[in-house]
C-alpha cells in the first residue's frame, strides 16, 4: 500500500509517516516511480508507535519497540530493551503523578485560604467549620 492508505489505516497523516522516516523509524520500500510502499508489517509497526505515543512516550522511546518488531519478534515489547523503557516510564509516571498530586494539594490549600479571605468568595458547598 502507499503512504496515504497507510496513514488512513493508522489514523494519522502522511506528514507524520514521512517524519518518522526521517527519524529512522518506519522505513519504506519504493516503487519504480519513487512512491513509498508499505505492507502489513509496517502497519503493525506504525500502530505500535502510535499506541506508545498515546501513552505519552516520545518518539525516541518507541525505538526499542520498533527494532524489536523489525527483528522478527511477535510483539514490540518482546525484547528486554522494551521492558527497560516500560519500567523507566512507569517510574517517570509515578514521579509525575506524585508531583502533580502534591501541587494539587497546595493549589487546593491556597484556594481554600483565599476563599476564606475574600468576602464574596467562599462559594460554600458546605459549612466549612474550621478548627478556629
Amino acid at each position: 500500500m502507499r503512504i496515504g492508505e497507510l496513514a488512513a489505516r493508522a489514523g494519522t497523516t502522511t506528514r507524520t509517516l514521512r517524519y518518522y522516516e526521517t527519524r529512522g523509524l518506519l522505513t519504506a520500500r519504493r516503487t519504480g516511480n519513487g512512491y513509498r510502499t508499505y505492507d502489513e508489517d509496517d502497519l503493525k509497526l506504525l500502530r505500535q508507535i502510535r499506541t506508545l505515543q498515546d501513552f505519552g512516550f516520545d518518539l525516541e522511546e518507541t525505538r526499542p519497540f520498533v527494532e524489536c518488531l523489525r527483528a522478527g519478534h511477535p510483539e514490540g515489547d518482546s525484547c528486554p530493551a522494551s521492558l527497560v523503557v516500560y519500567r523507566r516510564k512507569l517510574a517517570e509516571l509515578d514521579a509525575l503523578i506524585e508531583q502533580l498530586t502534591s501541587v494539587r494539594a497546595q493549589v487546593g490549600a491556597q484556594l481554600a485560604r483565599a476563599e476564606a479571605a475574600v468576602p464574596g468568595g467562599p462559594e460554600p458547598k458546605c459549612e466549612l467549620g474550621g478548627h478556629a
Copy 2:
C-alpha cells in the same frame, strides 16, 4: 534595585525579567541612564509569578494574580479572577492526574504481560541491596 539584584533575589535571571516585561507582567521604572529600577513590591509580584510557575501555571494564567497585586490587594489571590484560575487549574490537575493514572495502569499491565512472555525477563529485584 536594578534588574540583576531583583533577579538574584527572586532566584531567576535578568533574561526572564525582561521577558516578563515584554509580556506585560512586571513593568519597570527607569533611571536617567535607562536602567530598569524595581522596588520591594516588584519583588513580591515576581515571587508570586514564580510560585505559580513552579506550580505549572503558564504565564498568562499568572496575569490575574499580578493585576490583583497591582490593584493594591494584599495577596495575588485576593481577587475573584485569581480564584477562577485556581479552580480551573484544579480541574486541569484532576483531569491530568486521572489520565496519567490510567496510562500508568495500562503500561503496568503491558509490562506484566510482556515480562510473563519473555523468558529472561521478570528480573526480580534481588541482590541489589534493596529494602530487604
